[in-house]
Amino acid sequence: MNIFAKILTKARSKWVGVALIALALIALPFALAAAGTAWVRIANLAILFAFLALGLNIVVGFAGLLDLGYIAFYGVGAYVYALLASPHFNLHLPFWVILPIGALVACVFGVLLGAPTLKLRGDYLAIVTLGFGEIVRIFLNNLSRPFNLTNGPQGISRIDPFSFGAFDFSRNETIAGLAFSGPIKYYYLLLALLLLAIVVNLRLQHSRIGRAWEAIREDEIAARAMGINTTRIKLLAFAMGASFGGVAGGMFAAIQGFISPESFVLVESVMVLSMVVLGGMGNVWGVVLGAVLLTFVPELLRDWVQPVQQSLFGKTIIEPEVIRMLLFGLALVLMMLFRPAGLLPSAIRKRELTKQK
């Protein structure tokens, strides 16, 4: 076999693999729907979290800036969507107008957070971002006065779902003999957006900017000496990560139809961080895997933990929610102890996190 044929078979087998995965992803919601629409919703959540985690991955994985207030951008995006597409202000803009606005507003918040904290590194940055997240949440919670912007702790309800003209993503429909429920339609939309996010992430990683982030992460002083404008590049990481969060927040608001400050607490930031860490900081596929695992496994647990406890003790002793959180905590600790570079480590991260001083 000559070398061209070899390359050709290799390329072909790769494309066969991609096609198979694509087919599986297209068929997945119908398989899940057979097990119950709830599972389709969970799949949607997994995609949403993957999207969110990809955004955080830019900040934490690529640029190495530990952001613990990331959920604030998600919240900002969600509130932007909710305010512009709900009876709250009687505004009903279409989603393709709002999502970019949400991304932009979140981006501004990202720069607002980034600008004063640029000088800080590592753990200080973590705590400041954490404080920032709390500040945003407190404001969301209290800005029902002097004029009712966020409707306080009650949150905003009856948020418009996504729609293209008459095509409403939340309604059930039958197309070509197949029953498309609302969640299934959302699934495809979310999947498309996630693919876009993955492509952007992959392209960013190997771009000039991506390499600059990597340089800063490895050694900021050396990076500056190499002529990288660290201030601008770090701000860019914050801004980009925040925009991802803003878009994800908008999607979340549309799918849920209801948001309140409760959804944007510190624990959520930690959860998204767990996804990034579990999958492998800096590795796009790892991050997606982390998000999918950490969304599905707790749900599966919820499915059998409660019945098992019921049959063993006659009552639920440990709430599934508690188990979920304990799992997150354990995942963080065990991953750092035994596999610090994540399930699917990025090559550079692996070297970095396993090196000895």
């Binding site: 000088k119 200080y124 940055l125 400041v128 508690v322 995942a331 610090p340």
Partner: protein
């Protein structure tokens, strides 16, 4: 009533609690440059254990002060044990790892402790039983309660004891040596691992007492009380200059006063646009402000940039 004086008194009370918790952060940071994110959870565990004991003893006819004292005595060893265990399990294996790793395990430990507490004590807060009569004393147009006096006195006492330990005992010398240069300290025959464990244990004991104090002050303790308190105490430590003991004390008390005055006056200053529900924002504003304008803190010896 003199609002200003009253808020100063309230601020001093909370501030001394912050100071005690901040000492735990600052000691650990001083010695291994780690922000022990889970430190706030130690405060929570201290409060929960003590409250369980106090509630169990509330029916007996022991004097109330003795009951609270027994509660504190029960909480301290539990917290010490947890503090020791967290250092051994989550931080020691990662001592030579890059910065990000122990920080992430710390977050993990914090979540685990919080939810273990939820399992043990359930979601419902524990209330402080009505055993201590609510006594108040007027001073210059304001009032100070017996509990407030007790909190402030206990804090001062503990700060004194800690200062004595760090600056006047052999163990303290070993701690300071380790914080300056662990390698050389090790060469001088100091068992570094033991000193680091000891630092965590002392910090945990302080946290236990702080937990009881803040729980008694507010009258309740619940599984989620640690994180916000921890963050504020950390802000206090940064305000004073992290790694610096006197700084942590000063920072804690200042932060308490800033918070109390802020909560007391923000309504008047902004024509009631913002109310005291923004109280929790001040600590973070202070934190961000300090880090931006004076990262080394008020008395700081370590620069924020080193982190």
């Amino acid at each position: 009533m003199d609002i200003f004086l009253q808020q100063i008194i309230n601020g001093l009370t909370l501030g001394s609690v912050y100071a005690i918790v901040a000492l735990g952060y600052t000691m650990v940071y001083g010695i291994i440059q780690l922000i022990n994110f889970a430190h706030g959870e130690l405060v929570m565990i201290g409060a929960m254990v003590a409250f369980s004991v106090i509630n169990a003893l509330a029916g007996t006819h022991l004097p109330p002060v003795l009951i609270v004292f027994i509660g504190i005595l029960a909480a301290i060893p539990v917290c010490m044990l947890v503090g020791y265990a967290m250092e051994r399990i989550a931080y020691r294996p990662l001592r030579s790892a890059p910065r990000l790793a122990p920080l992430i395990t710390a977050i993990g430990i914090s979540i685990i402790l919080q939810h273990l507490a939820l399992l043990v004590w359930s979601r419902n807060p524990l209330a402080f039983p009505q055993i201590i009569p609510f006594v108040t004393f007027p001073i210059g147009g304001a009032i100070i309660s017996g509990v407030q006096i007790a909190i402030i006195l206990t804090s001062v006492l503990m700060m004194g004891a800690l200062t004595f330990m760090v600056y006047r005992t052999k163990l303290g010398i070993a701690m300071r040596a380790t914080s300056q240069n662990p390698l050389v300290a090790g060469l001088m025959g100091i068992d570094i691992d033991r000193i680091i464990s000891f630092t965590f244990i002392v910090g945990a004991a302080l946290a236990a007492v702080a937990g009881v104090m803040v729980g008694t002050y507010y009258g309740i303790a619940h599984y989620g009380m640690g994180s916000l308190l921890g963050m504020k105490a950390f802000s206090a430590a940064v305000l004073g200059g992290i790694g610096n003991l006197a700084g942590a004390m000063l920072g804690g008390i200042l932060l308490g006063i800033v918070e109390a005055l802020g909560a007391g006056y923000i309504g008047d200053l902004t024509n009631n646009v913002f109310g005291s529900n923004y109280q929790d924002v001040f600590a973070f504003m202070v934190l961000i402000g300090v880090l931006v304008f004076r990262p080394s803190g008020l008395l700081g010896e370590r620069v924020g940039d080193r982190a």
